[in-house]
């Protein structure tokens, strides 16, 4: 079995702050983490490998040189091979350009060793687009199952799998041919602690680095800014909704504060709360 997992290194958005003077993002000192959903994607691949009794898990990322750290974490988790796709020419990529690069890389990996399943996170927390996985599946022309929460069956010989996905009405159980691309929710696999020997092995591991031209060329028209139809027109901090009065129970007493609160609740025109004017039949 050969699984490929696409992971992304993202800033920990809970620590992102805005410079009040310039209105820009302060990235200094913000820790970079493996996108939380992608950790579960790696775990799902490693657990599937164990379940079918062996195989290979390849992790890939497109990002700056620093993203190699994120790949090492995946190796600690049990990935066998890690590829960093990194080149200044890839910079400024939107989801269309990103999906091109990842799809092309997976094609190359597949030519070396056929791929049975591809895992993506449900979304990356820096942009929350959830578009790259569907884009890659479309480019590779293979089935896509988004929001996957469990793999019920995985039959390499019959080239089929049964996957559960979360939809608004509940859980949809789908049968698919292989290879398939899944984008996963956290439930797909709980993350386990890596055993010590694996940590030691990972510490010595060197990810492969692919550039825009080597070992295979990427189409310069489809990468980076050039390959990205969307541009950021402007970025700004959200206009704060201005708050109203803040009243203290300790200062004004409970009754006075609650009376004011009731007036505010009535402003909302909540149906249950219409004053009793007519006769209730």
């Amino acid at each position: 079995m050969h699984a490929v997992v696409a992971i992304k290194q993202v800033p920990d958005t809970s620590n992102v702050r805005i410079d009040p003077e310039t209105g820009t993002l302060i990235r200094e000192g913000v820790p970079a983490i493996v996108n939380p959903y992608d950790i579960h994607a790696v775990e799902a691949a490693v657990q599937l490998k164990e379940r079918v009794g062996g195989g290979q898990v390849t992790v890939i990322t497109m990002g700056p040189p620093k993203a190699a750290e994120a790949l090492l974490e995946c190796v600690e988790q049990g990935a066998d091979r890690a590829i960093l796709i990194s080149d200044r020419k890839f910079g400024g990529a939107d989801t269309l350009a990103t999906s091109y690069v990842l799809a092309r890389a997976i094609e190359v990996i597949n030519a070396e060793q056929p791929v049975d399943i591809i895992f993506f996170g449900k979304q990356a927390i820096d942009g929350d687009t959830a578009q790259v996985g569907p884009g890659v599946a479309t480019r590779l022309n293979i089935p896509l199952i988004t929001y996957a929460v469990a793999i019920e069956e995985f039959d390499l010989a019959a080239r089929r799998a049964v996957v559960h996905r979360r939809v608004e009405q509940g859980i949809e159980v789908l049968e698919t041919t292989l290879p398939v691309l899944l984008t996963v929710e956290k439930e797909i696999a709980p993350v386990r602690h890596a055993p010590l020997p694996r940590l030691i092995a990972a510490a010595r591991y060197q990810p492969e680095v692919w550039t825009a031209t080597s070992p295979v060329p990427f189409d310069p028209q489809q990468i980076g800014l050039k390959g990205s139809p969307t541009v950021v027109g402007k970025a700004y901090t959200p206009a704060p909704r201005s708050g109203g009065d803040v009243l203290s129970v300790a200062e004004l007493g409970l009754d006075a504060v609650v009376a004011r609160a009731m007036a505010v609740i009535e402003q909302a025109h909540v149906r249950n709360l219409q004053p009793v004017t007519g006769v209730v039949s």
Binding site: P11, T13, S14, V16, R17, I18, L25, D94, S99, D126, A130, Q131, P134, A137, T138, P143, L144, T146, Y147, V167, E168, Q169, I171, V173, L174, E175, T176, T177, P229, T230, V232, G233, A235, Y236, T237, P238, P240, R241, G243, D245, V246, L247, S248, V249, L254, V257, V258, A259, A261, M262, V264, I265, A268, H269, V270, R271, N272, L273, P275, V280
Partner: protein
């Protein structure tokens, strides 16, 4: 290629239906499309309706503002699956070349939109909260929160068409339907056989009465300050008295006090109720992005510096275990419980 005036700027909305029920986000998007159309000279608002035996839903699309509905009918479209939907809609896009194409940022819509954008090789902006037409060059300005809601970015797609965007349910207002509006139905041929679809649905395990906080008019939300699962009974009592639902912040869900389907915020749901009562919620940005569209926000927090007060219509500095029982008494005193609403 389509013979009729190819230069009409078409603003398209994807009508999402499952089991013959149209998702309300589709009508919200038709309302947005109407507003965009007013700023885009000569443009028309049209709807795309794929499915099986769904043509009878077209009149609803007219009522919400479409002048034309493209019905794509084929048994392979009966249940949503990525491939047949993506192929069918992408073919239609390639034929008519709309200027703008809006899709709901639902589970289905997000699965589909990225596939269509890739097939027709265009730009797609996810999860927008605001749409407008840039007056200078007549292109779509699609605004969305990024970096966990810390930053808003306006995304433009200058040269590729259509300009695609997904929008979350309940972020845009629901338009008033025009009861006697009519329009044109275009039946779009689509050939695909079941054998050509690699994914089959074996079954659907329906979630038992999944709470749908997204559509509640009143939400009483509790945070870590509620202190434990028992406290939510009190919140439920207030919600019941107001005819609303209980929701929660993320730590509450992480602690298992409430089901994940009730989480409000960046990684939960976006809500837009008439009244949002936040009890024991500090108001972190990831929470606020999910609820700042509420008409009225009432916040109760012991900490006078809690950020939630910055956006609350009214803030109460006090213990929720003191304030909420008092509110319950007042609300029960005022509401009437007969069925008649005059």
């Amino acid at each position: 290629m389509n013979a009729e005036q190819p230069t009409i700027p078409r603003i398209w909305v994807f009508v999402e239906q499952q089991e013959h029920q149209v998702h309300s986000v589709s009508w919200e998007l038709l309302g947005a499309a109407k507003r965009l159309s007013a700023d885009l000279p000569g443009s028309v608002v049209e709807a795309v309706l794929p499915g099986h035996q769904v043509a009878d839903l077209a009149p609803q699309a007219f009522q919400y503002g479409a002048s034309r509905v493209y019905v794509i009918d084929n048994p392979v479209l009966e249940i949503y699956r990525n491939l047949p939907y993506a192929v069918a809609v992408s073919q239609l896009v390639a034929e008519y070349r709309p200027e703008i194409f809006l899709i709901g940022a639902t589970t289905l819509g997000r699965d589909l939109a990225g596939s269509i954008a890739t097939r027709v090789s265009t730009g797609l902006t996810a999860d927008c909260t605001e749409l407008s037409i840039d007056p200078a060059n007549h292109i779509l300005a699609a605004t969305r929160p990024t970096f966990g809601g810390n930053l808003m970015a306006t995304i433009l797609c200058r040269r590729h068409r259509p300009q695609m965007a997904t929008v979350r349910p309940r972020v845009l207002p629901m338009p008033e339907p025009v009861p006697d509006a009519t329009g044109e139905v275009v039946n779009v041929p689509f050939d695909m056989r079941e054998e050509d679809v690699p994914v089959k649905r074996l079954r659907l395990i329906r979630a038992e009465e999944q709470p749908n906080i997204e559509y509640a008019d009143v939400i009483v939300a509790g945070g870590r300050g509620v202190g434990g699962p028992e406290g939510f009974a009190l919140l439920q009592e207030l919600a019941d008295a107001l005819g609303g639902m209980v929701a929660a912040s993320r730590p509450v869900v992480d602690a298992g006090w409430m089901d994940a389907s009730r989480q409000v915020g960046q990684t939960g749901k976006t809500v837009r109720p008439k009244l949002y009562i936040a009890a024991g919620i500090s108001g972190a940005v990831q929470h606020r992005v999910g609820m700042s569209g509420a008409d009225v926000i009432l916040a109760i927090n012991t900490d006078p510096n809690a950020p939630i007060f910055q956006i609350a219509t009214m803030g109460i500095v006090g213990d929720l275990y003191e304030v909420i029982p008092a509110l319950i008494r007042q609300v029960k005193g005022q509401s009437y419980d007969g069925q008649a609403h005059l």
